[in-house]
């Protein structure tokens, strides 16, 4: 399941779909311009899949109320 977290390879079609899902109507030129950074960012995100987080719950803040 984790392998599906980050599409690989992260190509133009993947970026186009991601942009559409977020509501952006980027031109082909804009997509091409963003693709290298998007692919590098996806590779960085993919490293999250390799981390053993055990059964730890996601946590955002201290709740010392």
């Amino acid at each position: 399941m984790l392998a599906a977290m980050t599409p690989h390879p992260f190509d133009l079609d993947t970026l186009r779909r991601a942009a559409q899902l977020a509501g952006f109507a980027w031109s082909e030129e804009e997509l091409q311009a963003i693709l290298p950074v998007a692919a590098a960012s996806a590779a960085l995100l993919a490293t999250l899949e390799t981390i053993d987080v055990g059964a730890g719950e996601p946590s955002t803040q201290y709740r010392m109320l």
Partner: protein, 474 residues
């Protein structure tokens, strides 16, 4: 420099309360200095001179009538331009919000005003606080006052705050810190700045970058000044559900100057090892000085920091895009193209990445907690280098060349993820005369110990008392 513009907040508050100087005199001195220097320094987006003088006259009347006065009566401050100020435009450093005028003050602005502080104006910053270099193409890049010859980065995103306080344009300032935006400009501009524990200070009325990582705090010229401002700002706020109801201690009372037995964990792996040699040497010298003064120093490692870049991108990228998506869909062309691209790249982040990032965050927090279970504070460089030139794309670190943006946030960002309090203090100057900063990291809601360590260091050293030379300005 007019002596009043170099005085600490503690001194000014005392001098005003005892009628040694008038609030109007203090405010005028700062406004004159802003008028003389800010065309070059670009610290301010808006100067509220008339309002400031009116407030100063009101403060003077309060004193003359013998009415109760707040602890900051007549002290001139300035605020990063993402804190809402009633009737005064709050732009977030953007062109898009250039005409935005809030109806109400942010909670922290209201609290400081109630304590008697005078608002000099709103400070330049990275557009929407998304970047550590401190640059702004819309309002001009703030200039680090420590180098008259080379236009250097002030550090960001609270760059105007760093410049204004370092140059004596304001006695203190507020910044916000999502990846280091209080501590980085404090380090690069030779200031003391504290990022409190997440939940210690209200974010209500503050333009967000990343809700779960944004922190608000003071930037001043000493730990003692930070203590005074933090006390006035901190505490539960019903308008910010993440604020804690824990009582706010008297931070100034905690500044004993004594570090005897203070347990300091020096972060070498990743932190000291990743810093430029001059920075590493300065922090090591500071650790030795603290040890000589009675602190107990050992070394400790945080192994989970290796995952911070990915985790913080997953969280920050997703939250920032969620906030900006409506504007990006309709007004993208009005963003700085570089900031726009950084925001848009968030489309690659999935919900699973975001959750995994928060799981990594929990691991990191537990590791920092464990390191602090046997120590009072951790000590690390704030930034791996001193202020780079504004056009620098790379810097040289202890382990080789690195892109300037990730380099600047390398040592600060982990503590935004973990939420612990951290205070940056000056600890040296490079051969080029540029400030070096180090940060004390403490237990959650134990800002008192963090400030005690910072203040004790400033009683052992005089780096925080050094000032940039700015010619013959008033």
């Amino acid at each position: 420099m007019n002596d009043l513009c170099g005085r600490s907040i503690v001194d000014l508050a005392r001098m005003i309360a005892t009628k040694e100087v008038s609030p109007v005199e203090v405010t005028r001195a700062h406004l004159d200095r802003i008028a003389a220097l800010d065309n070059t320094l670009r610290a301010f987006i808006t100067v509220t001179a008339d309002r400031a003088l009116a407030a100063a006259r009101a403060a003077e009347a309060t004193l003359a009538a013998g009415q109760p006065a707040g602890p900051l009566l007549g002290v001139p401050l300035a605020y990063k331009d993402l804190f809402d100020t009633a009737g005064v435009k709050t732009t977030g450093g953007s062109k898009i919000l250039a005409d935005r005028v809030p109806a109400e003050d942010a909670t922290v602005i209201r609290r400081l005003s109630e304590a008697g502080a005078i608002t000099l104006g709103k400070l330049n910053m990275v557009e929407f606080a998304y970047g550590p270099e401190g640059l702004n193409i819309h309002y001009g890049h703030p200039r680090n006052p420590w180098d008259a010859g080379t236009h250097r980065m002030a550090g960001g995103s609270s760059s105007g705050s760093g410049v204004a306080v370092a140059a004596g344009l304001a006695a203190g300032a507020l910044g916000s810190d999502t990846g280091g935006s209080i501590r980085i400009p404090s380090s690069l501009c030779g200031l003391t700045g504290i990022k409190p524990t997440y939940g210690r200070v209200s974010r209500a009325g503050v333009l967000p970058l990343t809700w779960s990582m944004d922190h608000v705090g003071p930037m001043t010229r000493s730990a003692a000044d930070c203590a005074v401002l933090l006390r006035a700002m901190a505490g539960y706020d019903p308008a910010d559900p993440t604020t804690s109801v824990l009582p706010v201690p008297d931070y100034a009372a905690a500044l004993t100057g004594d570090v005897t037995g203070l347990r300091v964990g020096l972060l070498r792996a990743f932190f000291l090892d990743g810093a430029a040699p001059e920075v590493r040497a300065a922090v090591e010298a500071a650790a030795k000085a603290l040890e000589k003064a009675g602190a107990v120093v050992d070394e400790v490692a945080l192994t989970e920091v290796r995952h911070v870049a990915a985790a913080s991108f997953a969280i920050m990228g997703a939250e920032a895009l969620a906030y900006h998506a409506p504007l990006l869909r309709t007004r993208a062309a009005e963003y700085d193209p570089d900031i726009r691209r950084r925001l848009e790249i968030g489309v690659v982040i999935t919900g699973m990445h975001y959750v995994r990032g928060q799981q990594v965050r929990a691991l990191l927090r537990a590791e920092v907690d464990a390191a602090l279970a046997k120590r009072d504070v951790l000590l690390a460089p704030t930034t791996p280098v001193a202020a780079p030139p504004v056009d620098a794309r790379q810097v040289t670190l202890g382990d080789g060349p690195a892109d300037v943006r990730p380099a600047l946030i390398r040592f600060t960002r982990p503590i935004n993820l973990s939420g612990h309090p951290a205070c940056s203090v000056p600890c040296g100057l490079t051969r080029e005369g540029l400030p070096i900063g180090m940060q004390f990291v403490g237990r959650p809601f134990d800002e008192a110990t963090v400030l005690r360590a910072a203040d004790a260091w400033q009683r052992l050293s005089d780096w925080h008392a050094r000032r940039p030379v700015l010619g013959s300005a008033p």
